[in-house]
Protein backbone atom coordinates (compact mmCIF):
# COMPACT_ATOMS: atom_id res chain seq x y z
CA UNK A 1 0.00 0.00 0.00
CA UNK A 2 1.47 3.36 -0.99
CA UNK A 3 1.22 6.72 0.65
CA UNK A 4 -1.18 8.17 -1.95
CA UNK A 5 -4.27 7.04 -0.05
CA UNK A 6 -3.48 8.75 3.21
CA UNK A 7 -6.56 10.56 4.55
CA UNK A 8 -4.86 13.93 4.97
CA UNK A 9 -7.96 15.81 6.11
CA UNK A 10 -8.36 13.31 8.94
CA UNK A 11 -4.72 13.71 9.89
CA UNK A 12 -4.90 17.50 9.95
CA UNK A 13 -8.06 17.27 12.00
CA UNK A 14 -6.31 14.94 14.46
CA UNK A 15 -3.25 17.19 14.62
CA UNK A 16 -5.47 20.15 15.42
CA UNK A 17 -7.20 18.16 18.18
CA UNK A 18 -3.89 17.12 19.68
CA UNK A 19 -2.63 20.68 19.67
CA UNK A 20 -5.84 21.98 21.25
CA UNK A 21 -5.77 19.34 23.99
CA UNK A 22 -2.09 19.93 24.59
CA UNK A 23 -2.35 23.72 24.60
CA UNK A 24 -5.45 23.92 26.78
CA UNK A 25 -4.35 21.35 29.32
CA UNK A 26 -0.83 22.82 29.51
CA UNK A 27 -2.24 26.32 29.94
CA UNK A 28 -4.29 25.08 32.88
CA UNK A 29 -1.96 22.58 34.53
CA UNK A 30 1.09 24.88 34.59
CA UNK A 31 -0.49 27.63 36.72
CA UNK A 32 -2.32 25.13 38.93
CA UNK A 33 0.80 23.00 39.37
CA UNK A 34 2.89 26.09 40.02
CA UNK A 35 0.63 27.29 42.82
CA UNK A 36 0.40 23.83 44.40
CA UNK A 37 4.16 23.28 44.02
CA UNK A 38 4.95 26.64 45.65
CA UNK A 39 2.57 25.80 48.51
CA UNK A 40 4.05 22.33 48.99
CA UNK A 41 7.50 23.90 49.09
CA UNK A 42 6.73 26.84 51.36
CA UNK A 43 4.77 24.79 53.89
CA UNK A 44 7.64 22.31 54.26
CA UNK A 45 9.83 22.43 57.38
CA UNK A 46 12.22 25.38 57.51
CA UNK A 47 10.37 27.49 54.95
CA UNK A 48 8.49 30.62 55.79
CA UNK A 49 4.97 29.23 55.66
CA UNK A 50 5.94 26.08 57.52
CA UNK A 51 2.74 24.05 58.15
CA UNK A 52 3.61 20.39 58.51
CA UNK A 53 0.06 19.10 58.15
CA UNK A 54 -0.78 21.26 55.16
CA UNK A 55 2.49 20.14 53.61
CA UNK A 56 1.76 16.45 54.22
CA UNK A 57 -1.80 16.69 52.96
CA UNK A 58 -0.82 18.49 49.75
CA UNK A 59 2.04 16.09 49.23
CA UNK A 60 -0.31 13.12 49.68
CA UNK A 61 -2.81 14.50 47.16
CA UNK A 62 -0.01 15.06 44.67
CA UNK A 63 1.30 11.53 45.16
CA UNK A 64 -2.09 9.83 44.94
CA UNK A 65 -3.04 11.58 41.71
CA UNK A 66 0.36 10.83 40.25
CA UNK A 67 0.07 7.13 41.00
CA UNK A 68 -3.18 6.60 39.09
CA UNK A 69 -2.47 5.50 35.49
CA UNK A 70 -3.88 8.05 33.07
CA UNK A 71 -6.17 5.62 31.28
CA UNK A 72 -7.88 4.87 34.60
CA UNK A 73 -7.92 8.50 35.66
CA UNK A 74 -9.68 9.33 32.40
CA UNK A 75 -12.61 7.08 33.23
CA UNK A 76 -12.57 7.55 36.97
CA UNK A 77 -13.02 11.34 36.89
CA UNK A 78 -15.84 11.29 34.31
CA UNK A 79 -18.52 12.55 36.74
CA UNK A 80 -16.27 15.42 37.72
CA UNK A 81 -15.50 16.14 34.08
CA UNK A 82 -19.20 16.26 33.26
CA UNK A 83 -19.81 18.63 36.14
CA UNK A 84 -16.89 20.86 35.12
CA UNK A 85 -17.37 21.16 31.36
CA UNK A 86 -20.80 19.71 30.79
CA UNK A 87 -19.60 16.68 28.84
CA UNK A 88 -17.22 13.80 29.39
CA UNK A 89 -16.46 13.11 25.74
CA UNK A 90 -14.68 14.78 22.88
CA UNK A 91 -11.78 17.20 23.06
CA UNK A 92 -13.59 19.20 25.74
CA UNK A 93 -14.16 16.11 27.87
CA UNK A 94 -10.52 15.11 27.61
CA UNK A 95 -9.12 18.35 29.01
CA UNK A 96 -10.14 18.01 32.71
CA UNK A 97 -8.56 14.56 33.14
CA UNK A 98 -5.45 15.76 31.33
CA UNK A 99 -5.18 18.68 33.76
CA UNK A 100 -5.90 16.47 36.76
CA UNK A 101 -3.04 14.20 35.69
CA UNK A 102 -0.54 16.85 34.60
CA UNK A 103 -0.99 19.50 37.30
CA UNK A 104 0.22 17.31 40.21
CA UNK A 105 3.10 16.11 38.06
CA UNK A 106 4.15 19.68 37.37
CA UNK A 107 3.55 20.59 41.03
CA UNK A 108 6.16 17.99 42.03
CA UNK A 109 8.61 19.27 39.42
CA UNK A 110 8.01 22.82 40.68
CA UNK A 111 8.75 21.76 44.24
CA UNK A 112 11.98 20.09 43.13
CA UNK A 113 13.02 23.19 41.17
CA UNK A 114 12.32 25.44 44.17
CA UNK A 115 14.39 23.22 46.46
CA UNK A 116 17.35 24.01 44.24
CA UNK A 117 17.11 27.71 45.07
CA UNK A 118 19.85 28.77 47.46
CA UNK A 119 18.35 29.14 50.95
CA UNK A 120 20.74 32.00 51.62
CA UNK A 121 19.30 34.07 48.77
CA UNK A 122 15.83 33.77 50.29
CA UNK A 123 17.28 34.72 53.66
CA UNK A 124 18.99 37.77 52.14
CA UNK A 125 15.68 38.87 50.62
CA UNK A 126 13.98 38.45 54.00
CA UNK A 127 16.73 40.46 55.65
CA UNK A 128 16.06 43.28 53.17
CA UNK A 129 12.46 43.45 54.35
CA UNK A 130 11.00 41.97 51.15
CA UNK A 131 7.29 41.07 51.46
CA UNK A 132 6.72 37.34 51.08
CA UNK A 133 4.70 37.46 47.89
CA UNK A 134 7.49 39.53 46.37
CA UNK A 135 10.03 36.94 47.53
CA UNK A 136 8.01 34.22 45.80
CA UNK A 137 7.76 36.21 42.58
CA UNK A 138 11.09 37.93 42.36
CA UNK A 139 13.38 35.50 44.15
CA UNK A 140 11.98 31.97 44.27
CA UNK A 141 10.35 31.72 40.86
CA UNK A 142 13.03 33.81 39.22
CA UNK A 143 15.96 31.86 40.61
CA UNK A 144 14.21 28.57 39.82
CA UNK A 145 13.19 29.59 36.30
CA UNK A 146 15.42 27.22 34.35
CA UNK A 147 14.22 24.29 36.46
CA UNK A 148 10.63 25.41 35.97
CA UNK A 149 11.00 25.67 32.20
CA UNK A 150 12.59 22.23 32.07
CA UNK A 151 9.61 21.04 34.14
CA UNK A 152 7.10 22.59 31.74
CA UNK A 153 8.87 20.88 28.85
CA UNK A 154 8.70 17.47 30.51
CA UNK A 155 5.06 18.04 31.42
CA UNK A 156 4.22 19.02 27.83
CA UNK A 157 5.91 15.92 26.46
CA UNK A 158 4.01 13.78 28.96
CA UNK A 159 0.78 15.46 27.94
CA UNK A 160 1.39 14.50 24.31
CA UNK A 161 1.46 10.87 25.31
CA UNK A 162 -1.60 11.28 27.57
CA UNK A 163 -3.58 12.79 24.69
CA UNK A 164 -3.02 9.57 22.74
CA UNK A 165 -5.16 7.78 25.32
CA UNK A 166 -7.95 10.30 25.20
CA UNK A 167 -9.35 8.44 22.22
CA UNK A 168 -11.06 6.25 24.81
CA UNK A 169 -13.49 9.09 25.48
CA UNK A 170 -13.58 10.21 21.85
CA UNK A 171 -11.12 12.97 22.45
CA UNK A 172 -9.57 12.40 19.07
CA UNK A 173 -6.08 13.53 18.26
CA UNK A 174 -3.12 11.86 16.59
CA UNK A 175 -2.77 8.99 19.04
CA UNK A 176 -6.42 8.13 18.63
CA UNK A 177 -6.07 8.17 14.86
CA UNK A 178 -3.07 5.89 15.10
CA UNK A 179 -5.07 3.39 17.12
CA UNK A 180 -8.26 3.52 15.04
CA UNK A 181 -6.70 3.64 11.58
CA UNK A 182 -3.20 2.39 11.97
CA UNK A 183 -3.94 -0.43 14.37
CA UNK A 184 -7.60 -1.40 14.12
CA UNK A 185 -7.89 -0.89 10.34
CA UNK A 186 -4.40 -2.10 9.44
CA UNK A 187 -3.26 1.13 7.86
CA UNK A 188 0.49 1.18 8.45
CA UNK A 189 0.78 4.31 6.33
CA UNK A 190 -1.54 6.23 8.66
CA UNK A 191 0.27 4.75 11.63
CA UNK A 192 3.62 5.88 10.25
CA UNK A 193 2.46 9.41 9.52
CA UNK A 194 0.82 9.92 12.91
CA UNK A 195 3.81 8.52 14.77
CA UNK A 196 6.09 10.73 12.70
CA UNK A 197 3.98 13.78 13.53
CA UNK A 198 4.05 12.89 17.23
CA UNK A 199 7.81 12.48 17.14
CA UNK A 200 8.19 15.86 15.43
CA UNK A 201 5.87 17.48 18.00
CA UNK A 202 7.82 16.07 20.94
CA UNK A 203 11.11 17.04 19.33
CA UNK A 204 9.90 20.60 18.80
CA UNK A 205 8.70 20.90 22.38
CA UNK A 206 11.88 19.46 23.82
CA UNK A 207 14.30 21.49 21.73
CA UNK A 208 12.33 24.68 22.33
CA UNK A 209 12.47 24.06 26.08
CA UNK A 210 16.15 23.15 26.02
CA UNK A 211 17.02 26.22 24.00
CA UNK A 212 15.17 28.47 26.41
CA UNK A 213 16.92 26.90 29.40
CA UNK A 214 20.29 27.31 27.72
CA UNK A 215 19.65 30.93 26.90
CA UNK A 216 18.56 31.78 30.42
CA UNK A 217 21.42 29.97 32.10
CA UNK A 218 24.14 31.33 29.86
CA UNK A 219 25.55 33.66 32.49
CA UNK A 220 24.68 31.81 35.64
Amino acid sequence: MGYENIPWPLIWQATRETLIMLGASLALSVPIGLVVGVLVFLTSPGQFWQQIWVHRLLSLIVNVTRSVPFIIMLIYVMPLTRWLVGTSIGVKGAIPPLVIAAAPFFARLTEIALREVDRGVIEAAEAMGTPRLTIIRRVLLREARTGLIAGITVTAVNLVSYTAMSGVVGGGGLGDLAIRYGYQRFRPDVMAVTVLLLVILVQLLQSFGDRLVRRLSRNQ
Binding site: V121, E123, A124, E126, A127, M128, G129, R138, N219, Q220
Partner: protein
Amino acid sequence: MGGIGLIILDNLVKTYGAGKETFTVINHVSLKVEKGEIFGIIGRSGAGKSTLLRCVNLLARPDSGTVTVGGVELTRLNTRELQARRRKIGMIFQHFNLLSTLTARDNVAFPLRLEKMSRQEIRRRADELLELVGMSGHADKYPAQLSGGQKQRVAIARALAAQPDVLLCDEATSALDQETTRSVLALLGDINRKLGVTILLVTHEIEVVRSICDRVAVMHRGEIVEMGRTADLLLKPRHPATRELVQAEDVDVRAWIGGNGGEDGGTIVRVLLSGESAGRPALSEAVRGTSVRFVILHGTVSRIRDVPYGRLTIRFDGPPGETSAVIGRLRDMGWEVESVDGI
Protein backbone atom coordinates in the same frame (compact mmCIF):
# COMPACT_ATOMS: atom_id res chain seq x y z
CA MET B 1 31.20 54.36 76.03
CA GLY B 2 28.18 55.51 77.89
CA GLY B 3 25.70 55.95 75.04
CA ILE B 4 22.21 54.51 75.07
CA GLY B 5 23.06 51.91 72.45
CA LEU B 6 21.93 51.70 68.83
CA ILE B 7 21.46 47.96 69.09
CA ILE B 8 20.34 46.62 72.43
CA LEU B 9 19.94 42.91 72.95
CA ASP B 10 18.42 42.22 76.31
CA ASN B 11 18.53 38.81 77.93
CA LEU B 12 18.09 36.79 74.73
CA VAL B 13 17.44 33.08 74.91
CA LYS B 14 17.11 30.87 71.87
CA THR B 15 16.73 27.11 71.84
CA TYR B 16 16.34 24.60 69.07
CA GLY B 17 14.50 21.32 69.25
CA ALA B 18 12.03 20.25 71.88
CA GLY B 19 11.78 18.09 75.01
CA LYS B 20 14.91 16.18 75.88
CA GLU B 21 16.53 17.15 72.62
CA THR B 22 16.41 20.86 73.44
CA PHE B 23 19.63 22.65 72.68
CA THR B 24 20.26 26.14 73.97
CA VAL B 25 22.03 28.14 71.28
CA ILE B 26 21.85 31.48 73.02
CA ASN B 27 21.84 31.54 76.78
CA HIS B 28 20.77 34.82 78.38
CA VAL B 29 22.82 37.14 76.22
CA SER B 30 22.71 40.90 76.65
CA LEU B 31 24.67 43.25 74.45
CA LYS B 32 24.77 46.93 73.59
CA VAL B 33 26.30 48.27 70.39
CA GLU B 34 26.90 52.03 70.26
CA LYS B 35 26.14 54.21 67.27
CA GLY B 36 29.07 54.49 64.89
CA GLU B 37 31.23 51.71 66.26
CA ILE B 38 32.43 48.49 64.70
CA PHE B 39 31.56 45.73 67.08
CA GLY B 40 32.80 42.18 66.64
CA ILE B 41 31.44 38.94 68.01
CA ILE B 42 34.05 36.22 67.85
CA GLY B 43 33.79 32.57 68.71
CA ARG B 44 34.38 29.10 67.39
CA SER B 45 31.84 27.55 65.06
CA GLY B 46 28.78 26.42 66.96
CA ALA B 47 29.22 29.07 69.65
CA GLY B 48 25.90 30.62 68.65
CA LYS B 49 27.28 33.82 67.19
CA SER B 50 25.54 33.60 63.80
CA THR B 51 22.23 32.87 65.50
CA LEU B 52 22.80 35.86 67.78
CA LEU B 53 23.43 38.06 64.74
CA ARG B 54 20.22 36.76 63.14
CA CYS B 55 18.32 37.79 66.24
CA VAL B 56 19.21 41.42 65.56
CA ASN B 57 16.96 41.55 62.48
CA LEU B 58 14.82 38.67 63.74
CA LEU B 59 15.73 36.27 60.96
CA ALA B 60 15.94 34.08 64.03
CA ARG B 61 13.32 34.82 66.64
CA PRO B 62 14.52 34.56 70.23
CA ASP B 63 12.40 32.49 72.63
CA SER B 64 12.62 35.30 75.14
CA GLY B 65 14.30 38.66 75.58
CA THR B 66 14.01 41.84 73.58
CA VAL B 67 15.80 43.29 70.57
CA THR B 68 15.88 47.06 70.18
CA VAL B 69 17.44 48.78 67.19
CA GLY B 70 17.49 52.58 66.94
CA GLY B 71 15.01 52.90 69.78
CA VAL B 72 12.45 50.56 68.18
CA GLU B 73 11.73 47.30 69.92
CA LEU B 74 11.72 44.88 66.98
CA THR B 75 10.40 42.00 69.02
CA ARG B 76 7.09 43.87 69.37
CA LEU B 77 6.54 44.70 65.70
CA ASN B 78 4.09 42.90 63.44
CA THR B 79 5.27 41.36 60.17
CA ARG B 80 4.66 44.46 58.06
CA GLU B 81 6.34 46.83 60.52
CA LEU B 82 9.27 44.47 60.87
CA GLN B 83 9.70 44.32 57.09
CA ALA B 84 9.79 48.11 56.95
CA ARG B 85 12.35 48.30 59.78
CA ARG B 86 14.54 45.59 58.24
CA ARG B 87 15.11 47.83 55.23
CA LYS B 88 17.19 50.04 57.51
CA ILE B 89 19.31 47.12 58.70
CA GLY B 90 21.69 45.95 56.00
CA MET B 91 23.14 42.46 56.07
CA ILE B 92 25.93 40.63 54.25
CA PHE B 93 26.71 36.94 54.34
CA GLN B 94 29.56 34.46 54.10
CA HIS B 95 28.32 33.16 50.76
CA PHE B 96 27.24 36.58 49.47
CA ASN B 97 23.69 35.39 48.66
CA LEU B 98 23.30 37.37 45.45
CA LEU B 99 20.54 36.48 43.02
CA SER B 100 22.27 34.45 40.31
CA THR B 101 19.74 35.52 37.68
CA LEU B 102 20.36 39.24 38.14
CA THR B 103 23.30 41.38 37.07
CA ALA B 104 25.39 43.19 39.69
CA ARG B 105 23.41 46.36 39.03
CA ASP B 106 20.04 44.62 39.33
CA ASN B 107 21.13 42.90 42.53
CA VAL B 108 21.95 46.28 44.03
CA ALA B 109 18.65 47.62 42.67
CA PHE B 110 16.66 44.82 44.32
CA PRO B 111 16.07 46.59 47.65
CA LEU B 112 15.54 49.90 45.82
CA ARG B 113 12.67 48.40 43.87
CA LEU B 114 10.87 47.82 47.17
CA GLU B 115 10.79 51.59 47.66
CA LYS B 116 8.74 54.00 45.63
CA MET B 117 11.40 55.11 43.18
CA SER B 118 11.42 55.70 39.45
CA ARG B 119 13.40 53.43 37.16
CA GLN B 120 15.94 56.12 36.30
CA GLU B 121 16.40 56.97 39.96
CA ILE B 122 16.95 53.32 40.84
CA ARG B 123 19.51 52.92 38.10
CA ARG B 124 21.33 56.09 39.08
CA ARG B 125 21.43 55.08 42.74
CA ALA B 126 22.55 51.51 41.95
CA ASP B 127 25.41 52.83 39.82
CA GLU B 128 26.40 55.22 42.59
CA LEU B 129 26.54 52.35 45.07
CA LEU B 130 28.58 50.19 42.72
CA GLU B 131 31.00 53.06 42.38
CA LEU B 132 31.24 53.36 46.16
CA VAL B 133 32.35 49.73 46.44
CA GLY B 134 34.66 49.97 43.43
CA MET B 135 32.56 47.82 41.11
CA SER B 136 31.52 50.36 38.46
CA GLY B 137 33.11 48.38 35.68
CA HIS B 138 31.16 45.23 36.50
CA ALA B 139 27.58 46.52 36.60
CA ASP B 140 26.33 44.28 33.80
CA LYS B 141 28.04 41.10 34.92
CA TYR B 142 26.25 38.22 36.59
CA PRO B 143 27.49 36.89 39.94
CA ALA B 144 28.91 33.77 38.26
CA GLN B 145 31.25 36.04 36.31
CA LEU B 146 32.62 37.69 39.45
CA SER B 147 35.24 36.59 41.98
CA GLY B 148 34.39 36.07 45.65
CA GLY B 149 35.69 39.47 46.70
CA GLN B 150 33.79 41.16 43.88
CA LYS B 151 30.59 39.36 44.85
CA GLN B 152 30.98 40.52 48.43
CA ARG B 153 31.47 44.08 47.21
CA VAL B 154 28.24 43.87 45.24
CA ALA B 155 26.55 42.40 48.31
CA ILE B 156 27.84 45.30 50.40
CA ALA B 157 26.47 47.77 47.84
CA ARG B 158 23.13 45.98 47.98
CA ALA B 159 23.12 46.05 51.78
CA LEU B 160 23.77 49.80 51.74
CA ALA B 161 21.16 50.59 49.09
CA ALA B 162 18.36 51.50 51.47
CA GLN B 163 20.72 53.73 53.49
CA PRO B 164 20.71 51.58 56.61
CA ASP B 165 22.11 52.80 59.91
CA VAL B 166 23.29 49.31 60.81
CA LEU B 167 25.22 46.75 58.80
CA LEU B 168 25.25 43.15 60.01
CA CYS B 169 28.10 41.00 58.70
CA ASP B 170 27.83 37.24 59.05
CA GLU B 171 31.31 35.75 58.51
CA ALA B 172 31.56 38.14 55.59
CA THR B 173 35.19 37.37 54.85
CA SER B 174 35.34 33.70 55.80
CA ALA B 175 35.01 32.49 52.22
CA LEU B 176 37.68 34.88 50.94
CA ASP B 177 41.46 34.56 50.72
CA GLN B 178 43.69 36.68 52.94
CA GLU B 179 44.35 39.48 50.52
CA THR B 180 40.70 39.81 49.50
CA THR B 181 39.73 39.68 53.16
CA ARG B 182 41.99 42.62 53.82
CA SER B 183 40.51 44.70 51.01
CA VAL B 184 36.92 43.89 51.99
CA LEU B 185 37.70 44.80 55.62
CA ALA B 186 39.23 48.06 54.45
CA LEU B 187 36.04 48.77 52.52
CA LEU B 188 33.92 48.07 55.60
CA GLY B 189 36.15 50.40 57.63
CA ASP B 190 35.69 53.11 54.99
CA ILE B 191 31.94 52.70 55.02
CA ASN B 192 31.91 52.96 58.79
CA ARG B 193 33.92 56.19 58.70
CA LYS B 194 32.41 57.88 55.66
CA LEU B 195 28.77 56.93 56.06
CA GLY B 196 28.70 56.52 59.82
CA VAL B 197 27.14 53.09 59.48
CA THR B 198 27.34 51.05 62.68
CA ILE B 199 28.75 47.62 61.96
CA LEU B 200 28.06 44.47 63.95
CA LEU B 201 30.07 41.56 62.66
CA VAL B 202 30.44 37.92 63.50
CA THR B 203 33.63 36.03 62.77
CA HIS B 204 35.85 33.18 63.87
CA GLU B 205 38.96 34.93 62.60
CA ILE B 206 40.96 36.91 65.13
CA GLU B 207 42.51 38.87 62.25
CA VAL B 208 39.16 40.39 61.36
CA VAL B 209 38.65 41.59 64.92
CA ARG B 210 42.20 42.84 65.15
CA SER B 211 42.03 44.91 62.02
CA ILE B 212 38.66 46.67 62.26
CA CYS B 213 36.75 46.16 65.50
CA ASP B 214 36.51 48.88 68.14
CA ARG B 215 35.01 46.51 70.63
CA VAL B 216 34.61 42.80 70.71
CA ALA B 217 32.60 40.18 72.54
CA VAL B 218 33.71 36.57 72.84
CA MET B 219 31.02 33.99 72.53
CA HIS B 220 31.41 30.52 73.94
CA ARG B 221 28.68 27.88 74.16
CA GLY B 222 25.85 30.35 73.73
CA GLU B 223 27.15 32.89 76.21
CA ILE B 224 29.20 36.05 76.02
CA VAL B 225 32.14 35.24 78.25
CA GLU B 226 34.18 38.36 77.76
CA MET B 227 33.67 41.77 76.21
CA GLY B 228 35.76 44.91 75.92
CA ARG B 229 37.88 47.17 73.79
CA THR B 230 39.67 45.16 71.14
CA ALA B 231 43.21 45.96 72.24
CA ASP B 232 42.43 45.21 75.90
CA LEU B 233 40.76 41.97 75.12
CA LEU B 234 43.32 40.68 72.67
CA LEU B 235 46.32 41.65 74.73
CA LYS B 236 44.95 40.63 78.11
CA PRO B 237 42.53 37.82 77.48
CA ARG B 238 41.02 36.52 80.71
CA HIS B 239 38.57 33.81 79.79
CA PRO B 240 40.04 30.48 78.59
CA ALA B 241 37.94 30.66 75.40
CA THR B 242 39.44 34.06 74.59
CA ARG B 243 42.93 32.85 75.34
CA GLU B 244 42.42 29.96 73.03
CA LEU B 245 41.32 32.25 70.19
CA VAL B 246 44.09 34.74 70.77
CA GLN B 247 46.86 32.26 71.32
CA ALA B 248 45.88 29.91 68.52
CA GLU B 249 48.34 31.89 66.44
CA ASP B 250 51.41 31.16 68.57
CA VAL B 251 50.96 27.52 69.34
CA ASP B 252 54.52 26.93 68.22
CA VAL B 253 55.77 28.92 71.19
CA ARG B 254 54.32 26.42 73.55
CA ALA B 255 55.96 23.62 71.61
CA TRP B 256 59.24 25.49 71.89
CA ILE B 257 58.88 25.99 75.58
CA GLY B 258 57.87 22.41 76.15
CA GLY B 259 61.13 21.27 74.54
CA ASN B 260 63.63 23.65 76.07
CA GLY B 261 61.90 25.05 79.12
CA GLY B 262 64.31 25.93 81.87
CA GLU B 263 66.55 22.87 81.65
CA ASP B 264 69.67 25.00 81.52
CA GLY B 265 68.53 27.29 84.30
CA GLY B 266 67.12 30.04 82.10
CA THR B 267 63.88 31.86 82.92
CA ILE B 268 61.27 32.04 80.21
CA VAL B 269 58.79 34.91 80.23
CA ARG B 270 56.18 36.27 77.93
CA VAL B 271 56.11 40.02 77.60
CA LEU B 272 53.54 42.31 76.20
CA LEU B 273 54.22 45.81 75.04
CA SER B 274 51.71 48.17 73.55
CA GLY B 275 51.39 51.85 72.73
CA GLU B 276 54.40 53.99 73.62
CA SER B 277 56.38 51.34 75.46
CA ALA B 278 56.62 49.38 72.22
CA GLY B 279 59.05 51.94 70.81
CA ARG B 280 61.72 51.84 73.54
CA PRO B 281 64.98 49.84 73.53
CA ALA B 282 63.89 48.53 76.91
CA LEU B 283 65.46 45.08 76.74
CA SER B 284 69.04 46.29 76.32
CA GLU B 285 68.47 49.00 78.92
CA ALA B 286 67.17 46.44 81.39
CA VAL B 287 70.11 44.05 81.12
CA ARG B 288 72.77 46.80 81.10
CA GLY B 289 75.28 46.35 83.91
CA THR B 290 74.15 42.80 84.72
CA SER B 291 75.49 39.44 83.63
CA VAL B 292 72.03 38.49 82.35
CA ARG B 293 71.74 37.67 78.68
CA PHE B 294 68.56 37.18 76.74
CA VAL B 295 67.34 35.18 73.77
CA ILE B 296 64.09 36.06 71.98
CA LEU B 297 62.40 32.73 71.34
CA HIS B 298 59.40 34.08 69.54
CA GLY B 299 57.90 37.41 68.80
CA THR B 300 55.10 39.13 66.97
CA VAL B 301 54.79 42.81 66.32
CA SER B 302 51.56 44.08 64.88
CA ARG B 303 48.84 46.61 65.40
CA ILE B 304 45.31 46.40 66.65
CA ARG B 305 43.29 49.09 64.91
CA ASP B 306 45.81 51.91 65.34
CA VAL B 307 47.60 50.67 68.45
CA PRO B 308 51.04 49.12 67.83
CA TYR B 309 51.85 46.20 70.04
CA GLY B 310 54.37 43.45 70.42
CA ARG B 311 54.29 40.13 72.11
CA LEU B 312 57.61 38.43 72.81
CA THR B 313 58.68 35.22 74.44
CA ILE B 314 62.12 35.69 75.98
CA ARG B 315 64.57 33.46 77.80
CA PHE B 316 66.85 35.17 80.32
CA ASP B 317 70.11 33.42 81.27
CA GLY B 318 71.81 34.59 84.44
CA PRO B 319 71.78 34.38 88.23
CA PRO B 320 68.17 34.25 89.53
CA GLY B 321 68.57 37.41 91.60
CA GLU B 322 69.78 39.46 88.68
CA THR B 323 67.13 38.03 86.39
CA SER B 324 64.33 39.12 88.68
CA ALA B 325 65.92 42.58 88.91
CA VAL B 326 65.90 42.78 85.11
CA ILE B 327 62.24 41.76 85.01
CA GLY B 328 61.49 44.42 87.62
CA ARG B 329 63.14 47.09 85.44
CA LEU B 330 61.07 46.00 82.43
CA ARG B 331 57.90 46.33 84.47
CA ASP B 332 58.99 49.80 85.55
CA MET B 333 59.33 50.74 81.91
CA GLY B 334 55.71 49.79 81.26
CA TRP B 335 56.17 46.27 79.95
CA GLU B 336 53.89 43.55 81.06
CA VAL B 337 55.85 40.46 81.97
CA GLU B 338 54.28 37.17 82.70
CA SER B 339 56.01 33.98 83.69
CA VAL B 340 55.49 31.23 81.15
CA ASP B 341 54.48 28.69 83.79
CA GLY B 342 51.27 30.67 83.89
CA ILE B 343 50.21 29.62 80.39
